[in-house]
Symmetry: C2
């Protein structure tokens, strides 16, 4: 076995994942070195924290001299060969990653928001300074989906992804399904269990998953994607009645990322609560687990399933990237990190994306309501496959009730136009709620 | 985008997978080059075939001058930078791979038998000549499980694998389950559909899957594994009565690879028809699909699912390896291929492996049979959780019948001893058939 000098890691951020990286390197460092034939030896050289005293208190085994509160010190330290960015956000994190690239220090990050929002600038720096950014930890925790798309499926045109890539929302939807909880009760439970942040906004509004989907699509199709160009809706609007209705029709409700390349090269990318068939393997993804189904033109249908978050799974991905980064320091030309390889590509406007739909209206109950709604749908040539008004057993003569329509496949834009007209009816009391019905071939 | 000279591939073998590699490179070659930032360009420089005239007839678009019938010519050709071995077997294939390594030409192979049987010699050459062997195509077709274990999970101690890694036997068991076919009828159907070879021996006797399991365990634990040290049994002994019985107990029968590291470092590795809980995600792996569940100490529980065989999926893996090999040609020291990193390790003797069991006896029906069998089991301190003698409705008074015992968890060696004693009973007409009952935590 060859010996080699150990490479120094600058750990920017020492929260859950940062200390997970520390633990994993300590637990399995020798194993890693052995598996690389002695080529890669890693140690933590510097740790950026806000408050060293507090960090010391919670992490007894870290020598005090490793801590710094100044990111410039960390990036500039000659003992730091690779920078791991785990502080989150898109401002300081941006500065740290940019400075590391300029210093030709490879970057490992778990920051999906940073890359989805400001990847264009960072990948340009990565190219200019010939220094890779690795981001396996940014998508789906311990599931190696980035490397799979980037390396294992490099010979494939990616026809589609369908993914459950936010564990918090999957947990909440699961509890609404299995325990008939309301959204609010399920969210409170997720928070109590530590599955949801105190501010759960990004988890439940779909944007955490959307950032991940943007990264997957960027990898697969090679061009930068403007977050403003995609359609995202979260799970806040899911009600027990939707869950119940889905179940009775043989579906389950999942927050689904759908990415699909159309024959003309346009990329469909959307993030929405969706009805998926109970028999599909994605319907079996429970709790905080994540899964991504990938369809490659050569590999065919594949699915990757695992823990989408948490200290150790995310650290597992960051450590794999650290080894990759360490190896890249020995490469004489080029790097193994991702770089956009297409100048531009087209995101299909959401108005042009087609599925079947489940639409829930909040209506004032009086004769003729269904006829009025149905007429507008017919005027817009949208087919109805079913309609249903669940009676509230506690109040069978309620004046206001939920009315549900199942609609045949049509472009979302056409549906929107029809719904705008329906909203004008005086019996319709609020904005209709729309979920996609996915066939998931 | 940088430009670079194209690397030449020597394709040894031009059957299903070989022509799949040809097709994939032609279809997606530009995409691959783009994704590598222009670093990797590949072309087929030479093709080894038995009969060039026949190869020409079936593959119209391949220039005649690419074909050769002499593998020495292919390996020695200066236009060949990387050798892809797809001829199968462990003799000529060995010579080709060894010659390529000696010539410092990286090797891509899909030959699981070669590496499982003669990997020790080949990895020694790989080390000596500092030239990698890549073998993603050897295990589970289009599923990137090799790269996952080798690179993505490099920071993980691998606690266990459970895998369905032979599509043919999975198809057969599935048809026996869903269509109540006999083993023979399901096998004939698989052959008619092209899912099973004319000689299906390696598929149904478990050894195709065992070779793959040996490679997975070698990757995970780093030491060479003697195929003679592991326990393999196939699906030839599975009868409709077993399928039926499994179903009634909430199980499905799968040919399962189980690999598990014990606390003392010993590795359990076995390949057997097994009862697995209907609710486990592996029970949903249908038809010719493959899946491998991996439990890493950091990544947690993961599952990788996809097409385990076939032209395009296997070519997808071979092409990913070709890109890796192409990149390795630029690396100044070391290589990214696998090398054993432990001198030796211990395979747990099958006698020491413990599960619950389903045992079927072929008995002569007379009073006292169950008592006699039960007594011997009791003498060996093996607990019985159930026993059952299905009555044949066509012949309720049959003299010979199947008798089934469900047994509590005990070491397989203890069970064997008891079964040896039971076999001596004059009412027992043939060797008992044993399937494992797996809990798959």
């Amino acid at each position: 076995m060859n010996s080699c000098s150990s490479l120094g890691i600058g750990l920017a951020g020492f929260g859950t994942v940062g200390s997970g990286v520390w633990n994993t390197l300590h637990r399995n460092g020798d194993l890693i070195t052995g598996r690389t034939g002695g080529d890669v030896r890693l140690h933590v050289a510097k740790i950026l924290v806000r408050d060293p005293a507090k960090a010391r208190a919670t992490t007894g085994d870290v020598p005090a001299e490793l801590f710094t509160t100044d990111w410039n010190t960390l990036v500039a330290d000659p003992a730091v060969d690779i920078v791991v960015e785990l502080i989150g956000g898109t401002t300081d994190a941006f500065d740290i990653v940019a400075a590391a690239l300029r210093a030709k220090k490879p970057v490992v990050t778990g920051n999906k928001a940073l890359l989805a929002e400001r990847g264009v600038e960072l990948f340009a720096l990565s190219r200019e300074f010939d220094t890779p950014i690795h981001f396996e930890a940014a998508v789906a925790g311990g599931i190696p989906i980035i490397r799979t798309v980037q390396d294992s499926f490099i010979g494939n045109r990616i026809l589609s992804f369908s993914g459950i890539i936010n564990g918090t929302s999957n947990y909440i939807l699961g509890r609404m399904t299995d325990a008939a909880l309301t959204f609010e009760a399920a969210l409170a439970e997720a928070q109590a269990l530590g599955y949801a942040e105190a501010d759960p906004a990004l988890d439940v509004n779909g944007w955490d998953a959307a950032h991940k989907a943007i990264l997957l699509a960027t990898l697969a199709y090679g061009f930068p994607i403007d977050p403003k160009s995609i359609h995202v809706s979260g799970i806040e609007q899911v009600r027990p009645t939707d869950i119940h209705f889905a179940k009775s029709l043989g579906y389950v409700v999942k927050l689904l990322a759908v990415i699909r390349e159309h024959p003309d090269g346009a990329v469909e990318l959307r993030l929405q609560p969706s009805f998926i068939p109970k028999s599909h393997i994605l319907a079996s993804v429970h709790g905080v687990f994540n899964a991504v189904a990938v369809h490659g033109d050569a590999a065919g249908e594949s699915l990757f399933y695992g823990r989408g978050a948490g200290q150790d799974p995310t650290a597992s991905s960051a450590v794999a990237d650290l080894v990759e980064a360490a190896r890249s320091l020995r490469q004489t030309t080029g790097h193994r990190g991702f770089l956009p390889y297409r100048e531009n590509g087209r995101i299909l406007p959401v108005a042009e994306t087609s599925t079947a739909y489940y639409v829930r209206f909040d209506v004032t109950d009086r004769p003729g309501v269904i006829a009025e709604v149905a007429k507008i749908l017919a005027d817009h040539r949208i087919g109805i496959s079913g309609t249903h008004s669940p009676v509230n057993p506690d109040n069978p003569d309620a004046e206001f009730l939920d009315m549900v329509f199942l609609l045949h496949t049509c472009p979302f834009g056409k549906l929107q136009t029809a719904l705008d007209a329906i909203e004008q009816l005086d019996c319709i009391n609020s904005k209709p709620v729309v979920f996609r019905i996915e066939t998931l071939a």
